[in-house]
Amino acid sequence: MAEMMKGNIAIAEAAVRAGVRLYAGYPITPSTEIMEYLSGRLPEVGGAFIQAESELAGINMVIGGASCGVRALTASSGPGISLKQEGISILSDEELSAVVINVVRYGNGLGTLYSSQCDYNRETRGGGNGDYRCIVLCPSSIQEAVEQISLAYELAEKYRVVSVLMTEGALGQMMEPVDLPDFVEPKRNPWGFDGKYTYKKIGIFDRDSMKESVLLKEKYAAIKENEQRWESEGVEDADYVFVSYGLPGRSTLGAVRQLRDEGFRVGLIRPITAWPFPEKAFAEINPGVKGIITVEANATGQLVDDAALAIKKNSSANIPAYALTYVYGVPPIKSIKADFKKILNGEIREVY
């Protein structure tokens, strides 16, 4: 029987089961239960848990673990993830695989503790310096989150990149029934350091960035081609297609089904990977669609940029893209329905 579990705890246990054997990080609401749980749990399975002196130290310890081919994890939120960006850029540059969990909370600077999706741009673009992307998974239920932990490592190791599990404060704090995945036997990646000096030392001025760039471009193109994930419903005959992920995506699915029952031809694309963005999902949309509508928990509208680009790629018609932004929390089904009607009567204007 599926058990009621808190999101953060279920995610932490799923990480242990996925073979994670190093956690290093620094606490911050609403992500703290992940490390609190692992502080007791990782030693039980022979893993290492380190409460680092800062987020910077934590991500650098993850670089160490990843260099040795161990499944290494860190988690944080808001400004804590900002502090880890240098390390994420280094992991990406060294082609080391690791997973970073962002339990997203709302606001700029120190921000607030509210559940939100305001870090969409940062996670999908890469918040550190350079020319890299992270694979970004965005679960809409605790069940989906626990299944995405092992997927995050598989993808990170396949492409030698960093995977980000982008959850939300509310998903971390809520409880619902969950079936935990089975245990994976932890194994060291063969490319990890083995204690012998078998690698050729390459200094910063020995690198051929032009040559590297070809491989870099190929790698990210392959991820974009192969790893788009989404769920969609009712897009083939839709007049309007909603695009929304995470908990707002789940609320939007409820709104879409109610609107369908009321006679509105609406559909939903729920991205499961925020990067690569599921552009392919947009190829299935009714060619006569009148608009696409993002539902987002941020103030300015971030997802709408990707949704607008994806519809542009798949249609030569100039299809309007609207953004319903609810700042923080999970938008109620009735608010989404009411705002949809404001789009129909012209009260809410398109963004693009």
Binding site: M4, M174, M175, E176, G254, P331
Partner: protein, 177 residues
């Protein structure tokens, strides 16, 4: 799908009351979600959680329009009275002494949960008294289903030693409405 908001002072056990109801639902094979207000709360401040349960898919786990509001103190009553669904129930404890007749489209039920739990010699059990009242008022679970779910919830938390006191508190609340 049903929605209940549990609200009161931190320490009154409203989050636990919500957990019991969600466990009862899941134990019976229903879907359920439990979501707390979290963050900048402090001991003695207000706390609340929202539980949704039912056979169908639960789309939005967050607060929308509760069928029942449990208000264990006055600030909770004031804060949530206006979001209760028309035709819904407002269950208040005996420490709530403000004017309760502010809406004519909801049913207000007062249960002396503090007095009952004191009489039972279990002053911390007022939340479980109210849980019993909620099960009866909602009418979605039999008493046996509810007691089985509650027992499971507390045994998972390693709190079996309070089982008898909890059952007594639950029964008293169940009988009080």
């Amino acid at each position: 799908m049903k929605e209940i908001v549990f609200a009161g002072f931190g320490g009154q056990g409203v989050l636990t009351s919500g957990l019991i109801i969600s466990e009862i639902a899941v134990n019976r094979g229903d879907n359920a979600t439990w979501i707390p207000s979290y963050g900048s709360a402090m001991r003695g401040g207000t706390a609340n959680c929202t539980v949704k349960y039912g056979r169908e898919t639960i789309y939005n786990p967050a607060q929308e329009e509760p069928n029942l509001l449990l208000a264990m103190n006055e600030p909770s009553f004031q804060m949530f009275i206006n979001i209760v669904a028309p035709g819904g129930i407002v269950l208040v404890s005996d420490i709530v002494n403000c004017d309760l007749n502010v809406r004519d489209d909801v049913k207000v039920v007062k249960v002396p949960s503090s007095a009952i739990s004191q009489e039972l010699g279990n002053p911390k059990g007022a939340n479980v008294v109210m849980t019993g009242a909620i099960v009866k008022l909602m009418g979605d679970f039999s008493k046996e289903e509810a007691l089985a779910g509650m027992e499971r919830m507390f045994s998972k938390k390693g709190k079996n030693r309070f089982a008898e006191a909890n059952v007594k508190a639950f029964e008293a609340g169940y009988a009080a409405v």
